[in-house]
């Protein structure tokens, strides 16, 4: 009987404890936010620093995403140049072009006679006088080939091999060099992104840690009194951890706004630039998963910052 009562009481108290634990969390969340809003300028400054620290890697990431999308976009405009033997005439070249037009893998086949090739060369270079001195046109005819966009890399390679095997063809050149270079640059940016993220994450933790440290100093009396009346460590550190969480969360959201604004400001000039290249690229904006990720990342860093401050400074405060 006594044991039964005891069990009932302990079960009851466990429920009651859970309820009070939950309600303390909720009140900490509310009070923490209220506290931040009570000193709006100081809070905003801290959050602005966090936002900038988060926006930097965030916008770098968005930049690489846009560049990846852009390079993919251009990769689809692949072009193959077929340079024929020097001694092959325009006629032979035209008949090859005619054959190629039957090929289902190709979208467009453009024939460029020796004269046209020379004109283009003149236009692109300053060798006018030198070319005039030549007895005859040194350039071979060129066939420009645009394969279908959905051609897999393998099929593309096979196509080039076939083209190179045509007897009159001297060289079949795929214009992919610059894309390789772009991908190389992207790789470097992505790798440095990791370093930037790491460094700025530390910066965020330090900023939040310092803010919380000041907050702990400000509330020293309260900490001492709550400790005197039997508050646990968990109880005492809870409001400070929520401070950190709020800072991180709001800082992360602010960072998203900054990135969005920056992209929006760049949108028009970038689109105009890309249009020069005859492309219809649409810049990628932060989507919901990016916003959620960045905000959660900020929140996590805020929490860690608060945790570091709490574990360094809170336990030192003891009642005398």
């Amino acid at each position: 009987m006594a044991r039964q009562t005891g069990a009932a009481t302990s079960r009851l108290s466990r429920v009651a404890r859970l309820r009070s634990w939950t309600s303390h969390h909720i009140s900490c969340i509310k009070e923490s936010l209220t506290r931040l809003l009570k000193t709006p300028l100081a809070s905003l400054l801290t959050m602005a620093v966090l936002a900038m620290a988060l926006a930097l890697p965030g916008s770098l990431y968005m930049l690489t995403q846009n560049m990846i999308a852009l390079s993919g976009h251009w990769q689809t405009d692949t072009q193959i140049s077929l340079y024929l033997h020097e001694d092959s005439g325009d006629l032979a070249a035209e008949s090859i072009a005619l054959d190629l037009r039957q090929d289902k893998r190709l979208v467009r086949v453009q024939f460029m006679s020796r004269d046209q090739a020379l004109d283009e060369f003149r236009e692109m270079t300053d060798f006018d006088e030198a070319l005039d001195k030549l007895a005859h046109n040194p350039l071979p005819p060129v066939i420009l080939i645009y394969p279908r966009n959905d051609l897999a890399a393998e099929a593309l390679t096979r196509l080039i091999e076939e083209l190179a095997a045509i007897p009159q063809v001297e060289l079949a050149q795929l214009d992919l060099e610059w894309i390789k270079r772009l991908n190389g640059i992207l790789g470097i940016i992505q790798r440095s992104l990791l370093v930037v993220v790491g460094l700025l994450a530390i910066a965020v933790i330090l900023v939040v840690g310092n803010t919380i440290r000041l907050e702990i100093e400000n509330r020293r009396d309260e900490i001492v009194v709550t400790r005197l009346f039997g508050a646990t460590h968990a109880f005492i550190r809870r409001p400070f951890l929520y401070d950190g969480i709020w800072f991180g969360l709001l800082g992360g959201l602010l960072a998203c706004i900054l990135i969005y604004t920056a992209l929006w400001a760049l949108d028009a000039p970038v689109v105009r630039l890309i249009e020069l290249y005859n492309s219809s690229f649409q810049p990628i904006y932060p989507d919901i998963s990016f916003i959620v990720t960045l905000t959660l990342f900020g929140t996590l860093l805020g929490y860690l910052g608060a945790w570091s401050a709490v574990s360094q400074h809170l336990y030192k405060i003891e009642p005398e």
Binding site: S23, T226, L228, F229, T232
Partner: protein, 230 residues
């Protein structure tokens, strides 16, 4: 209920604040701890909620030796001990009622229940009408009474008061002592440290005198009825 057995306290700077103190305090008793300044009164009180640990001897509270109590149990111990201080330690950033509610919030009580009990405690010290005032606007005596309300709000079995009248004039001091006596008469074991031995004598309760860290005498002066000694 509370036994000190050969308790010694040497501070880290080498100063011996308590030497070989043995003392028994019964449930429901009101004990005055007196002696000159620096005699070790505060030190003795601090050992009970483990604000300091003794360097010698043992302290048995409700049958358990608290001297080696693990750190994580200390909060639970303190919830059973009400404390009143000379510098009352009120928080000036919140109204009176919230100061009194604090121990209840710490113990995880429902907010509405906290408020009700805090109001009851304020009523007992005669300050219910000032529950929404800022503590800074209260007189020193009133602040001390708020401190007492806060100490008793969760109905602890033990009440410790360290120089609760230190900053008060004789009339207010007497009032505070009477108030503490009232809480004792409803069953709370109380230990009150004061250097004012005359005031302690007037209360006609047991007085324990400390002198340079040693227990000099423990005398019962005309114990009033209902103190539960013996």
């Amino acid at each position: 209920m509370l036994h000190f057995l050969n308790v010694g306290k040497r501070y880290t700077n080498g100063h011996e604040a308590l030497r070989n103190v043995s003392l028994n305090i019964k449930r429901g008793e009101l004990v005055f701890l007196s002696g000159h300044s620096g005699a070790g009164k505060s030190t003795l009180l601090k050992l009970i909620p483990i604000l300091e640990r003794p360097t010698q001897g043992s302290i048995i509270l409700d049958g358990a030796n608290i001297v080696r109590m693990k750190k994580r149990y200390i909060p639970l111990l303190r919830r059973n001990i009400g404390m009143v201080f000379q510098d009352h330690y009120l928080l000036f950033d919140r109204p009176v009622i919230n100061n009194v509610m604090l121990p209840l919030e710490i113990s995880g009580m429902d907010h509405r229940e906290c408020r009700k009990r805090a109001q009851a405690a304020l009523d007992k010290v005669g300050l219910l009408n000032k529950q929404n005032h800022d503590p800074i606007t209260l007189s020193t005596g009133e602040q001390q009474r708020v401190g007492i309300a806060r100490a008793v709000v969760n109905r602890p079995p033990i009440l410790l008061a360290d120089e609760p009248t230190g900053n008060l004039d004789p009339k207010l001091s007497q009032e505070i002592m009477n108030l503490l006596g009232e809480f004792n008469s409803v069953g709370v074991t109380a230990i009150i440290a004061t250097h004012d031995i005359q005031l302690a004598r007037r209360m006609r309760r047991r007085i324990v005198i400390l002198h340079q860290g040693k227990l000099l005498e423990t005398s019962i002066v005309d114990a009033a009825p209902g103190t539960g000694h013996g």
